[in-house]
């Protein structure tokens, strides 16, 4: 498909976020640790996909045969420039926790080497999910105007 025919809104995660928020607010019985972990991970990548497509359609190019694969760092950098530090960091921290760490609560290290000393205590629960969704809505609000 030609880039010019792509509709960026097809990857708009608003409905997904609303669905997750509905579960958090009204259907808490559906939440367990597995569900929370998968929601947090999905939220990060849904936002990343939406940003990637919008950026591609604006002319940004990444890697891969169609140059449509982007680095997380480019995504993070873009959002940090908008002053979304709290949202970027929160989602990033919890995304790493839910996808890379097994225990709950756990201690997350956001680096591989050699400056490993900075540990973040993380608990994956409803409060964490609320923070992530709030952050995600703020990022989405920016991305919809981008």
């Amino acid at each position: 498909m030609q880039a010019s025919t792509q509709d960026p809104e097809k990857l708009n995660p608003r409905r997904l976020l609303e669905y997750f928020m509905r579960i958090l607010k009204n259907e808490r019985h559906k939440l367990n640790e597995v569900v929370i972990r998968r929601i947090i991970s999905a939220v990060y990548f849904a936002l990343f996909n939406y940003w990637s497509l919008k950026s591609y359609l604006k002319g940004l190019r990444g890697n891969g045969p169609l140059r449509d694969s982007f680095w997380f760092s480019t995504f993070n950098e873009h959002l940090l420039k908008q002053g979304l530090d709290y949202a970027v960091y929160t989602i990033y921290l919890y995304r790493v926790a839910v996808d890379h760490y097994t225990l709950n609560p756990t201690k997350v290290v956001l680096t591989s080497k050699p400056w490993k000393k900075e540990e973040k205590e993380v608990e994956i629960n409803n409060v964490a999910l609320e923070m992530v969704l709030e952050s995600a809505y703020d990022i989405l609000e920016y991305l919809e105007k981008y």
Partner: protein, 191 residues
Amino acid sequence: MMLVKDYFNTETLLLGTRLSKSWDRVYMLSSIPPIEPSIPVRNVFVDTTLENTTRLHINLREQRVMPTIRQLYDMLRMSKEDVLMMLKRYTETDEVIDAIKRLRFLDLGKLASLVIWLTNVLELKVTNINLVEDLETGQLQFIGIYIEDCGWDEWKILSRTVKKQLVSEGFDDVAGRVALVCKQALKTRRS
């Protein structure tokens, strides 16, 4: 005479009130023109050798100066050693600074200027500076500047205000490669 409230927006003032407890001792931008762009900053801080940030802090207070990040950067460009010494106060190992230099991720003088601005102008308590990587690729994502005593709502205001300031001063690279992190916000929100 220009008051600080004219210089920073309302959000910053609210933030300052909550965070630093010292905005009631508001510094006024000097009516004597240290801030005027036409006057080189190094002429303003006549006796500042920048031996350490304490000295700078005293000078700023004595002269009631609210410098911009750019002005601090211009001043710091005079000495790489001062920049390194200042940054190492906030890093647990030299590896952090070495990595930023090796990867050419960010000009250390710009990073130091931002930290000085945060600690001396906004009077935030910066506890440390660290790197955030992508665990899957090992790629450096951003530099985290960790701040004590600020909550979730303050974190939002702080992020937006400081980044707006950085971009307005032409430091887009710093804005994109540094994340301000309110440690308390992540703790207090947890059950």
